[in-house]
């Protein structure tokens, strides 16, 4: 195939313990470490491996958000993507709006594969991949842990609740990645320098002419209920006694 399109979302780094703003209107992101959504790194790694095998000629990374998402796109270019597209949106976008924006890029670039993370670890929505596939009227293979390409088809092993399901899909298609698909490479310093010269195109979201979906209103952000700290026991006898006291044995 010619092109593979990969989505990269800028999210709060997964090691950060998020803090809710005092007025409950959102999550504190000022001065917080931001990274590529880990599942999107897996998506990019898979695209790069397909290209390195000679099964694709170009890997394009795309992000939707503020100018700051350039950082994550540059990291994607340093990993090995050929060029980047930033769909510039100054306001937060809903999952459906993102899927519609990605569809506009898909229609322009005609990729053979779109690879996205199965979920973003900030809002844990797990929606964009299937939404894009629906709007594009193409197959989806979500939660992929193995991907084999064969001419105009792909065979995908999916991590489902009861085990591993294999499906066959016609290309082009949307794949969403699960954890065991691959282990993303580390970025090397010379590649970071090289990435600065690679093309990064900015397109205002408005210029894509996509209809804005009716957004969900985020009413309030609150901490979850805390669990009470429990008791420590010294040995197995103490453990069994404590379990009996709780009626668990």
């Amino acid at each position: 195939m010619d092109k593979i399109l990969v989505g990269l979302k800028r999210v709060v780094d997964y090691n950060v313990r998020v803090r809710i703003k005092a007025d409950g209107t959102g999550v504190e992101t000022d001065g917080v470490k931001m990274s590529i959504n880990p599942f999107d790194e897996i998506a990019l790694e898979e695209a790069l491996r397909i290209k390195e095998r000679g099964d694709a000629t170009e890997v394009i990374v795309v992000s939707i958000g503020s100018s700051e998402a350039q950082q994550q796109l540059r990291t994607g270019l340093a990993m090995g993507a050929d060029r980047a597209i930033l769909i510039k949106a100054n306001q937060p976008t809903s999952a459906l709006s993102r899927a519609r924006a990605l569809l506009a890029i898909v229609n322009r670039e005609s990729p053979g594969l779109v690879i996205l993370g199965k979920q973003a670890i900030d809002n844990d929505n797990s929606q964009t991949g299937p939404m894009l596939a629906a709007l594009w009227n193409r197959p989806q293979a979500t939660f992929a842990s193995k991907l084999e390409l064969d001419a105009n088809k792909a065979r995908v092993v999916r991590e489902v609740d009861v085990g591993l399901e294999t499906i066959e899909i016609d290309l082009p298609a949307v794949i969403t990645t699960d954890l065991r698909l691959n282990e993303p490479r580390y970025v090397k310093l010379p590649d970071i320098m090289k990435a600065k010269k690679k093309p990064l195109e900015e397109i205002p979201l408005e210029d894509l002419g996509v209809a804005t979906a009716p957004a969900l209103e985020e009413v309030h952000f609150a901490p979850p209920a805390e669990r009470q700290k429990g008791v420590m026991v010294d040995d197995v006898a103490g453990l069994i006694a404590a379990l009996k006291a709780k009626g668990q044995l």
Partner: protein, 313 residues
């Protein structure tokens, strides 16, 4: 009045318990009338089970050989064709629902509310974000359909004392052939299912090998428990992926959860925070799992676990 259409999850023979939990969530919507849609090759057995679920008004069936396996691209257009006249379309937050429902939402032109943990009113819901570290209250716009998935750990299945009507539905959706089912490899076991078990024993990286997991299975069998694992144990290949508990694996809420050799990364804690009693056994007294454990025991799991299994005899 709210009219809710719930998409049944099943394996062709029996109804998944996720459906009864999804009904429980929908029943929290004031004055809701709930229909369950069974898309199947042959729907009789599954529809019969769905009709017994309390709070269900009607079971709709669509029988089609293409529905023999749950492919989102095949099922979504059928759901959309039958969604007319409903105010809500709900599915479970399982891999079945996470695959299907966003495809349905996009075709209906609405955003989805993922992972509903509480109903505030017909259009307002609570859901976890940031690996469950934040609870977001979110409101869907009035007018368009509300498409949502229901967080399994937040609901108990409704009882089965009902006799709802079962009706065949006419479905004129165009079904694509671009997506084909090949096979399913399931680590089928006689143990209780991880997602519905009352007791779960999980092992982590400290087990150090697939062979060593034997002591986890032996303890689980003694307790009649399901078996889970941390991401580290699955990544290391000790156990298969369907056993992973956590933000990106299964979110579970057993009455009793034993975390053995699991340090308690925040992504793992997300998967168990609704458990009744959490027991932690770990050699590191500083492990974060002890911050959420109801009962903690510091020590060598290779000594403690066999001793516990023997003591339960």
């Amino acid at each position: 009045m709210s009219k809710v259409l719930i998409i049944a999850e099943h394996d062709g023979q029996s109804l998944n318990q996720s459906t009864a939990k999804t009904v429980a969530c929908a029943a929290e919507i004031p004055g809701a009338s709930i229909d369950v849609l069974v898309l199947a090759d042959s729907a009789t057995a599954v529809a019969g089970e769905a009709a017994r679920l309390d709070s269900v008004n009607r079971v709709l069936t669509v029988e089609n050989a293409a529905n023999a396996n749950p492919l989102a691209a095949v099922l979504a257009p059928q759901v959309v064709a039958l969604a007319a006249g409903y105010s809500h379309v709900f599915g479970p937050t399982t891999t079945f629902g996470k695959d299907l429902m966003p495809r349905v939402a996009a075709l209906l032109g609405v955003n989805q509310i993922s992972d509903v943990m509480a109903v505030v009113d017909s259009h307002t819901f609570k859901r976890p974000i940031y690996a469950g570290n934040v609870v977001l209250t979110v409101r869907a716009p009035q007018g368009p359909l509300v498409v949502a998935t229901v967080r399994m750990a937040s609901y108990q299945p409704v009882a089965g004392n009902n006799q709802a009507a079962i009706e065949k539905a006419d479905c004129a959706a165009e079904i694509p052939s671009h997506t084909r089912y090949v096979d399913l490899k399931s680590g089928s076991t006689d143990r209780p299912d991880l997602q519905t078990a009352a007791k779960v024993v999980s092992g982590g990286r400290a087990l150090a090998s697939a062979e060593n997991f034997k002591i986890i299975f032996e303890l689980a069998d003694k307790l009649g428990a399901g078996v889970g694992a941390s991401r580290a144990a699955v990544d290391a290949g000790y156990v298969p992926n369907e056993m992973q508990v956590g933000q990106t694996g299964k979110i579970i809420a057993p009455d009793l959860y034993l975390a053995i050799g699991i340090s308690g990364a925040i992504q793992h804690l997300t998967g168990i925070k609704d458990a009744g009693t959490i027991v932690a056994i770990n050699k590191d007294a500083e492990a974060p799992i002890f911050e959420v454990a109801d009962i903690g025991l510091v020590g060598d799991l290779f000594r403690i676990v066999p001793e516990l299994t023997a003591a339960l005899k």
